[in-house]
């Protein structure tokens, strides 16, 4: 891939990351309803959701960089009935609008908790819609390596794994920021981190296992597939073998790191102030693993025919 082509994975990864993060933040909001007031829940999620919104904007911005005429990108919407690309863009626009509305509501309107919840879940649906359309673009018969149900499934799992890895980073940044400003209610954030870190890390490990099963299942499919599919497998196991191994290693190391951090934190061996370094490193490793996975996704495709 050349430099321009790299902007496309940036878009897909950022969109997946933002959707996953939003999903788990909305789950946390749901879980905290019994222990925190609605106002406190809004207060503790407004900065993470704002960051997610900015991430989504950046993602669409990066997506435009791989276009020859970025200013005409809106014309892609005209083929909504027939093109998965148009549908992806459509869902993505809705996703951006919904998440922007949610972020604005969290910052500028007190109360309206139900409305915010609805906005959040609609945004998640739009995000997953975007990802499904994104995956469908690649499911073309001439590309045997991509044309399986595993493509959308792996996209969804990437969303989930990046989501669980990103949320602790967002929460910790928010906590340290508010602590440094000596704002009140930092105890809410600490409780939130403490109560969420364990199940997030368990989910991360489960997702990484699921992801590796998917990867090996895809390898098996390629092994039994057409000559083009077998060529893709050959690329994966020969030229790109180091990257393939590295991708799996980084994913397990990253999720494992988060799991160990969680255990050490509950044992009191890691202070809450030092958590950021660990969750950041874990997230970075998984992110690299997922970008490598996306690189391999593009690298091993072999066309059938001309």
């Amino acid at each position: 891939m050349n430099i321009r082509e790299w902007t496309l994975p940036v878009y897909t990864i950022l969109t997946q990351l933002s959707t996953g993060a939003l999903l788990f933040i909305m789950i946390i909001r749901l879980l905290r309803r019994k222990t925190l007031s609605q106002e406190d829940i809004d207060y503790s999620t407004q900065i993470p959701i704002l960051i997610i919104f900015i991430t989504v904007i950046l993602a669409i911005g990066f997506a435009h960089l791989h276009l020859s005429k970025p200013f005409l990108s809106f014309t892609a919407l005209r083929n909504l009935a027939t093109s998965w690309l148009s549908r992806e863009l459509f869902f993505n626009l809705i996703y951006i609008l919904l998440i922007g509305a949610l972020s604005g509501a969290l910052w500028f309107y007190k109360g309206h908790f139900t409305l915010k919840t609805i906005l959040g879940w609609l945004a998640i649906l739009a995000g997953f819609g975007t990802e499904y359309c994104m995956a469908r673009i690649y499911m073309i018969p001439s590309q045997p390596a991509w044309n399986t149900f595993l493509t959308p499934l792996s996209f969804f799992f990437t969303t989930l794994i990046l989501g669980v890895m990103t949320v602790p980073v967002l929460m910790m940044m928010d906590l340290i920021f508010k602590k440094s400003l000596s704002l009140e209610k930092t105890s809410i954030h600490i409780r939130q981190v403490t109560s969420s870190l364990n199940w997030l890390s368990i989910l991360a490990i489960i997702f990484s296992i699921c992801m590796s099963i998917l990867i090996f299942y895809q390898t098996a499919i390629l092994f039994g597939g057409s000559p083009a599919a077998q060529t893709s497998l050959l690329l994966l196991t020969e030229i790109y073998k180091p990257l393939f191994i590295l991708r799996l290693l980084l994913m397990f190391i990253g999720t494992g790191w988060l799991g160990i951090t969680s255990i050490q934190y509950y044992r009191g061996k890691i202070l809450v102030e030092n958590l950021l370094t660990h969750v950041f490193t874990a997230c970075l490793l998984v992110l690299v693993a997922e970008i490598l996975g996306r690189f391999l996704f593009y690298a091993i495709h072999v066309k059938v025919g001309i």
Binding site: L58, V169, L170, M173, S180, P242, V288, L292
Partner: protein, 692 residues
């Protein structure tokens, strides 16, 4: 090229060595705690550069080339890592703004992409040292230099704020040198088969990519072209190594100079602090000396005041002395004393002390100042015209037009009742301190003591005069008046006998009259002797008593003896001495009037009663003693007993008809009065037997 590599290594080696030495010295420079990383960075850079120097002159494929390649492949990423650590620590030296906590969130995605991209580059066929070189620059050197550059710029800001301009300038220079190095060393990389370096010309990668030995390249495009060794050479005419050498010299120069200047500045500051400390010590010592001298002056003044009080100096003179001393010692311009008049209706200025004069105010002028009245109500007050411009301080100074700037007022209190006020005033801005107020209160106490003492003395004098008058009146009534009455009757009798012409009876009556006149004469003489015998400082108690006894013997014809067994003057209080003399005189008067004695002995000695010391006065005569039917009242015994009682003493009389009388009087010394509870003494004395 060899020279450039050598100098480059020399610069970084120098930086490492200087940092190492500075680290060993234990500098207090904030930067110094990261010097070990800078040392490691400098040494690793020097080794890399010198490896390059040898590579230029070594045949490819030899063992030495392999060894040198391995050396630089190890040390170059290491140097980048050390620089990254140094830059990170340096940046965190000064607390970052809170918003920077979100930077990891911003950086994480691009960083992940760069890392992924770097990972993909390693599978592209090329010599391994090429991607290691490139990615150690992109991943370590570039962020490390940027962090260090920003860190130094932040230090520049802090040192500038602290007023350390010399160090600040060098920090600024070091910051920019590191930022320049970020571009020259961190971004410009050797040719490689992938972006952003010139991947499109593969041959260059193989042929001495590091040292630009194959310059026959011309195709460059876009931004990435600027990150190529060859492009730098073509544009500037100098190889990248030259520019790197310049940046290394710049970095080394600024850092070594900064460390040096900081140490010099630090030493200068330390010297200044030491000088200031010495000066402070000296000032403190001088302050202590001054304080001690002041305290001594105050003590001396207080002692003098008390001495004058007990010497019964004139109270007005004592008050003027107190005011004078207070003004001098407090360094004030004015001291005033006001007392309430007899009816407690008005506060009157009694006396003043100024720089020019100290005098009583005659007649006393009334004080209407509200601030004085208010201070009397509160107890004391420090006033300043600055703190409250509405305060009228001019009323504090009698007869002065100068405006009072600072003043301190203290209430005078006697037995819980305010009797007036003492105040000090300054005409210039020199605040009355709390210490001044303490001393002023101390002087106010002295004023009260002097007044109280004067009042007591006056009362005692009045009492003494009354008592003396009563005694003289009693003596005249008992003695002279009765004799004169008797003489009047005798004169009438003589007149009757004269009319009858009874010469013989007249002679008898005249003889009786002569005896009565003789008795009256003796009484008068004794009274005169008593009145003449007073206790004074010039003559001691023993001398006065001995002299009195001697005169008594001459006047009465009774033989006397005086035994004084004490080694020195008895240690009795003044009032005890007075009572002792009175008992002594009364006893001798009884001897003369009633005892018909021919001899009287007086003995003064020591005696012990319980834990106390007493003076024992024994007066013993050889007269007829106290006869049956005579009461103690007749002889003034009750009075003598009361006198002894009043000072905690004991009086005992032993007498038998025909065998004389002995009076033992025990009077307590001063020490005994201190240690013994007088109440206890009175109780024990009440059980003491009196033998009649």
């Amino acid at each position: 090229m060899t020279l450039i590599f050598f100098l480059n290594g020399l610069a970084f080696g120098g930086l490492g060595l200087a940092s190492f030495l500075q680290d060993r010295q234990g500098s207090e420079f904030p930067l110094s705690k990261h010097l070990r990383w800078l040392t490691a960075f400098g040494i690793a850079c020097a080794l890399t550069s010198w490896a390059d120097m040898f590579l230029v002159n070594t045949e490819p494929g030899t063992f030495l080339t392999v060894f040198l390649n391995i050396t630089r492949t190890i040390f170059q990423p290491l140097s980048g890592l050390f620089l990254l650590k140094f830059g990170w620590d340096l940046l965190r030296d000064i607390p970052l703004p809170p918003w920077t906590i979100f930077l990891p969130g911003v950086v994480i995605v691009p960083l992940a992409y760069v890392l992924t991209y770097a990972a993909t580059n390693f599978i592209t066929p090329s010599p391994l040292e090429i991607p290691i070189d490139i990615w150690s620059r992109y991943l370590f050197y570039l962020p490390g230099s940027i962090l260090a550059g920003i860190g130094f710029l932040r230090h520049w800001y802090v040192h500038r704020e602290k007023g350390q301009a010399d160090v600040a300038k060098l920090m600024f220079g070091a910051g920019f040198a590191f930022l320049f190095e970020a571009i020259i060393v961190g971004l410009v990389v050797p040719a490689a088969p992938y972006a952003p370096s010139s991947y499109y010309i593969y041959n260059r990668v193989v042929n001495n990519a590091f040292t630009v030995q194959n310059p026959s390249i011309s195709a460059f495009s876009g931004f990435s072209g600027w990150l190529d060794y060859q492009r730098v050479l073509e544009v500037t005419g100098l190889p990248i190594q030259f520019w790197r050498m310049l940046t290394s010299f710049a970095v080394t120069f600024f850092l070594v100079r900064a460390l040096d200047v900081f140490e010099t500045t630090r030493k200068r500051q330390l010297l200044k602090i030491m000088n200031e400390r010495d000066q402070a010590k000296e000032s403190a010592y001088l302050g202590q000396v001054t304080a001690r001298k002041t305290a001594e002056k105050w003590t001396e003044t207080l002692v003098t005041i008390n001495r004058r009080i007990i010497q019964f100096d004139d109270v007005d003179a004592i008050l003027l002395y107190i005011l004078d001393q207070a003004r001098n010692l407090l360094a004030t311009d004015f001291i005033g004393l006001a007392l309430y008049n007899e009816g407690d209706t008005e506060l009157e200025l009694k006396c003043i002390s100024t720089n020019n004069r100290s005098n009583l105010v005659e007649p006393p002028s009334p004080i209407k100042s509200a601030v004085v009245q208010r201070a009397i109500q509160r107890g004391s007050a420090v006033l300043t015209s600055k703190s409250d411009s509405s305060l009228n301080l001019t009323g504090l100074v009698d007869g002065f037009n100068t405006k009072v700037q600072e003043a301190g007022i203290v209430r005078l209190e006697m037995e819980g009742r305010p009797i007036g006020a003492l105040w000090a005033a300054r005409f210039e801005k020199n605040p009355i301190t709390q210490t001044d107020m303490v001393w002023l209160e101390c002087m106010a106490d002295q004023v009260v003591i002097a007044i109280q003492h004067a009042l007591m003395t006056s009362q005692l004098q009045s009492l003494s005069i009354s008592e003396e008058r009563a005694r003289i009146a009693r003596d005249m009534h008992d003695g002279l008046a009765q004799i004169l009455g008797y003489m009047n009757l005798q004169v009438q009798t003589l007149n009757a006998l004269l009319k009858r012409g009874d010469q013989e009876s007249m002679a008898g009556e005249l003889e009786q009259m002569r005896k009565a006149v003789k008795v009256a004469n003796a009484d008068i003489r004794e009274n005169i002797l008593s009145l003449r015998t007073t206790l004074s400082n010039d003559k001691g108690l023993a001398s006065s008593m001995e002299e009195y006894l001697y005169e008594f013997g001459i006047q009465t014809g009774i033989e006397t003896s005086f035994e004084y067994e004490l080694e020195k003057e008895p240690n009795l209080s003044s009032i005890t001495e007075v009572q002792m003399v009175c008992i002594f005189q009364e006893s001798l008067a009884n001897v003369r009037k009633h005892s018909q004695a021919k001899h009287v002995d007086v003995r003064i000695s020591n005696s012990k009663e319980g834990n106390g010391d007493f003076v024992l006065m024994q007066i013993k005569d050889d007269g007829i003693g106290i006869q049956q039917g005579q009461t103690s009242k007749q002889f003034g015994i009750t009075t003598m007993k009361e006198r002894a009682d009043s000072v905690g003493g004991i009086l005992e009389i032993q007498s038998q008809p025909g065998k004389g009388t002995s009076i033992d009087c025990m009077l307590p010394c001063l020490e005994s009065m201190k240690f013994r509870n007088s109440q206890t003494l009175f109780q024990s004395r009440s059980t003491f037997p009196i033998h009649m």
